[in-house]
């Protein structure tokens, strides 16, 4: 883990990552009607970096990562993912979505397909993979999230934790360069949170670039290179986990941390 150690140094206390940047967000504003959900967001994420975004509900965390794969469109500023700038062009959007995997709070597995079909769907449809090849790849990913034996079942037969791990495998099967997690454990029963976090920790240690919106501070402490604190649509504070949890600078950060820790 020497590379991740060195990166921690590079990115500490910086909203702009230096060197090998994979995601760049510059001056992004986002409105829902009159309500401004994102205010002048600037951040950069380096390759193999794990960024954890925390903040009170309604602070724009989810909106931010949904803008990165264009599930929401931003109204001002620039978002660049792997040298592709997001625009309204549909081909450009699909190119970015192919490179970014997303895991949702409510899993959003396709209930009418088996686990295996959930995972092979995108490789076959988007990457034009042959069925056998896609199934082989899917089994690899299901093994990675430790549920290869559930491949022929339907999502409705699985527990919440298992469903979320299938959702991670489904995103990984597209071999994305970036993984976005939108509160992946918030809809889970407490005893299932750990199995999902374990998979995510392994993923982070394997060198995946990840942006994780979560309330799991233990996860942030364990694997985050940087923690971003957002409130009211703004980035309030950015720092390494040690710095962030032990010596927060802003009053709003201190208040938030005092409420949840």
């Amino acid at each position: 883990m020497s590379s991740s150690e060195s990166m921690r140094g590079v990115f500490a206390d910086a909203t702009r990552a230096e060197g090998d940047v994979i995601i760049e967000v510059e001056g992004v504003d986002k409105y829902f009607g009159d309500f401004q959900a994102l205010k002048d967001i600037n951040m950069a994420v380096g390759r193999r970096e794990v960024v954890v975004v925390i903040g009170p509900s309604g602070s724009g965390k989810s909106t931010l990562i949904r803008c990165i794969n264009r599930l929401e469109s931003h109204d001002r500023g620039r978002i660049v993912v792997d040298d592709i700038e997001l625009s309204g062009d549909i081909r450009n959007i699909q190119e970015i979505r192919r490179e970014t995997g997303m895991v949702f709070q409510s899993f959003n597995l396709f209930p009418h397909l088996t686990v295996l079909d959930n995972v092979t769907l995108a490789p076959r449809q988007v990457r034009n993979m042959a069925k056998d090849e896609a199934e082989q790849l899917a089994m690899q990913q299901l093994t990675r999230v430790k549920i290869p034996e559930q491949a022929r079942k339907y999502p409705g037969q699985l527990s919440g934790g298992q469903q979320q791990r299938v959702a991670i495998a489904r995103a990984l099967a597209m071999q994305p360069k970036v993984m976005l997690f939108d509160e992946p454990t918030s809809a889970l029963d407490p005893e299932m949170i750990k199995e999902v976090l374990d998979v995510m920790i392994e993923l982070a240690q394997g060198g995946m670039t990840m942006i994780v919106v979560t309330h799991e501070m233990g996860f942030a402490r364990a694997v985050a290179n940087r923690v971003v604190f957002m409130a009211e649509g703004e980035i309030v504070e950015v720092g390494t986990p040690e710095h962030f949890f032990t010596d927060p600078q802003e009053t709003r950060t201190k208040l938030f941390l005092s409420q949840i820790l």
């Binding site: 794969n69 997303m102 597995l109 209930p111 042959a130 339907y154 999502p155 037969q157 995103a171």
Partner: protein
């Protein structure tokens, strides 16, 4: 090692206890029971009195053939028998393949699978079986018995497709489709544009058979599939231009035979049109959306009978000169266009009921909008609307009786022939009406039962 657990406490009630718990739980329910049960018994008594004592079923008995096939040429009757046999075989093959597919899926997913038993089939189709038994009771010759026995035997032979290994499922479906087309064309003949129908089935077959799990999709596969479809279409065309079977076109069909065909064709044709209209109404292209909305709202605001009349008298002016359409084709067109508008609204409801997260999950995976629609939205939306859709098809089936008003002799319409006979000019009107009503009910009820079953089956794995 499983530990023996005590069985769950029995919830069944003995006779007297059941009566007390269900019929007389309190004073008001008791009074209701005392009032309603005699009324119910009286109604049953009056019905039985009519059916078994007062009614004279001679009109039905003597005109059974007329009810079934109407004015279909009697010397061509063998075609109808052949159609019944081919359809029975197709039904058997289809049912066998379907339940084998369901079994494979259930076993793979680790779900319980209960194989079909004779009892379950009788329970599912008892209304149709009862109707066939009524027909056999009225039959005066041995022919109907032979037809029914032959059909049952062929269906049982077809059911053996259940035993075929998994890799033969596609062939099962193709065989069923071929038998259905053959069954249609043994009556209608193979001249004119009949080759198109067969070419479609064979083309779909050629398309599916060139699918391989080892080859990645790409231009090569597309080219191969296209060649397969084109070649099979040419082969079908050549075969049909050499071998011709003359037949009886549908402008000469009538009776229950016509009712079933008109309904089946209108159902099959209205579904894709309705689906297209539903998608068009949600389209982002304003012109398409307005067109679909206008069509749907116009059609839904007009009674079916007026559309049928329009089809008979006005459609001719709108078609290019020289086009001739039989009145039955016009009626099928009117019923299809009418039902398509309702199907569109039902499908639209299903599309709206889908959680937005499903679409987002598809988009986040990089699927294109048409792929999201085809692979994620529609399969779930259509499942959700099966009951409403079957309800619409049941009313279409019953509404086909309106054709009798525009002088088409379908199941209800043949009554006019029967009551033109000197013997039944004034008598037996009630008997023929009751018979026709029972016939409609038998089919409609079977459709409704099947839709309930399908609804349950497709929920597999939904938790």
């Amino acid at each position: 090692m499983t530990v023996a657990t005590p069985p769950p406490p029995s919830t069944g009630l003995s006779g007297a206890a059941w009566i007390r718990a269900k019929l007389f739980p309190n004073i008001w329910s008791g009074i209701l029971t005392v009032v309603l049960v005699p009324i119910l018994l009286y109604l049953v008594y009056r019905t039985a009195l009519f059916v078994f004592v007062n009614a004279d079923w001679e009109a039905v008995e003597r005109n059974l053939t007329l009810f079934m096939q109407g004015t279909f040429p009697r010397d061509q009757q063998w075609r109808l028998v052949a159609q019944i046999f081919l359809f029975a075989l197709a039904l058997g093959v289809g049912a066998g393949t379907a339940s084998a597919t369901a079994r494979d899926r259930a076993l793979q997913a680790g779900l319980a699978y209960r194989p079909r038993t004779l009892g379950s089939v009788l329970r599912r189709f008892w209304s149709l079986i009862a109707f066939v038994l009524i027909l056999l009771y009225f039959a005066s010759t041995v022919t109907p018995w032979l037809v029914v026995l032959g059909a049952v035997a062929l269906a049982i032979i077809g059911l053996q497709s259940y035993r075929l290994p998994t890799s033969f499922r596609l062939y099962g479906w193709l065989l069923m489709a071929l038998l259905l087309v053959a069954g249609f064309q043994v009556v209608s003949g193979t001249t004119g544009r009949a080759w198109l129908v067969m070419a479609m089935v064979v083309g779909v077959g050629a398309w599916s058979l060139t699918e391989s799990s080892r080859i990645a999709p790409g231009w090569g596969t597309w080219a191969l599939k296209t060649v397969a479809v084109v070649v099979s279409t040419i082969v079908v065309f050549l075969v049909y231009s050499v071998v011709t079977v003359p037949g009886v076109g549908w402008d000469k069909w009538s009776g229950l035979h016509l009712t079933l065909w008109v309904s089946a064709l209108a159902i099959v044709l209205s579904f894709p049109i309705g689906l297209f209209l539903a998608l068009a109404r949600r389209s982002t292209l304003p012109a398409l959306r307005w067109l679909a909305t206008t069509y749907i709202e116009l059609i839904r605001g007009v009674p079916l009978i007026s559309l049928l009349f329009l089809g008979q008298y006005v459609l001719g002016f709108m078609l290019p000169a020289g086009t001739t359409l039989s009145s039955i084709s016009r009626a099928i067109a009117a019923m299809t266009l009418f039902t398509a508008a309702y199907v569109a609204e039902i499908v639209r409801g299903g599309l709206q009921s889908l959680p937005v997260g499903q679409i987002e999950a598809g988009q986040a995976l990089g699927l294109s909008t048409p792929s999201v629609m085809r692979l994620i939205v529609l399969p779930q939306a259509l499942r959700a609307v099966i009951p409403a859709m079957v309800g619409q098809f049941i009313s279409l089936f019953k509404d086909s009786s309106l054709l009798s008003i525009i002088a088409i002799l379908e199941f209800l319409g043949v009554r006019s022939l029967i009551h033109a006979q000197p013997d039944f000019r004034v008598t037996a009107h009630a008997e023929t009406l009751v018979f026709v009503a029972v016939g409609y009910w038998a089919f409609a009820y079977a459709m409704s039962r099947e839709s309930q079953r399908l609804e349950g089956r497709l929920r597999v794995g939904y938790g």
